[in-house]
Symmetry: C2
Subunit: 94 residues, 2 copies
Amino acid sequence: MGVGSIHASLGETMAIVVVDVALKPEILDPQGRAIVGALGRVGLSGVADVRQGKQFVLNIDGDVDEAKLAQIHEIAETLLSNPVIEDFTVQVRP
Amino acid sequence: MGVGSIHASLGETMAIVVVDVALKPEILDPQGRAIVGALGRVGLSGVADVRQGKQFVLNIDGDVDEAKLAQIHEIAETLLSNPVIEDFTVQVRP
């Protein structure tokens, strides 16, 4: 569903891997704070915190095996995120 | 897991709502194309396409009922995304 389904039309033999990158909890997120303020002004109360992160949706030819997943983990750590200030998660979309 | 667990320490009575914002499939994503090129250079082959999106993690006090979820949908459409070029999904993290 959602982002995954956007790419469904590209082919049935493709795997979708999603890498979410978020600021570490101890890192201030001024953009997120600004959104909290804006949400209050437009009438959504009760939002304690907002954190803005990045999402990379990778369309990969063929299956994603263990070796490829390990490679994607390494790339998420070195290329897609800054490990000093960011955490990431890798998930394979069914 | 992942981004959700980052905020778990904020309190057990909080709900986490995640809004993913992605460019519509027909909109070019030059940043994603640049990542495809970079992935090839660092040795990850077989990546057909990369799309870069945004992820907003909202920590909400108390429970998220239907009314609040509808409000979050409206805000995702008006404040967090640009409906001309972007799609979004809203999901409540368990």
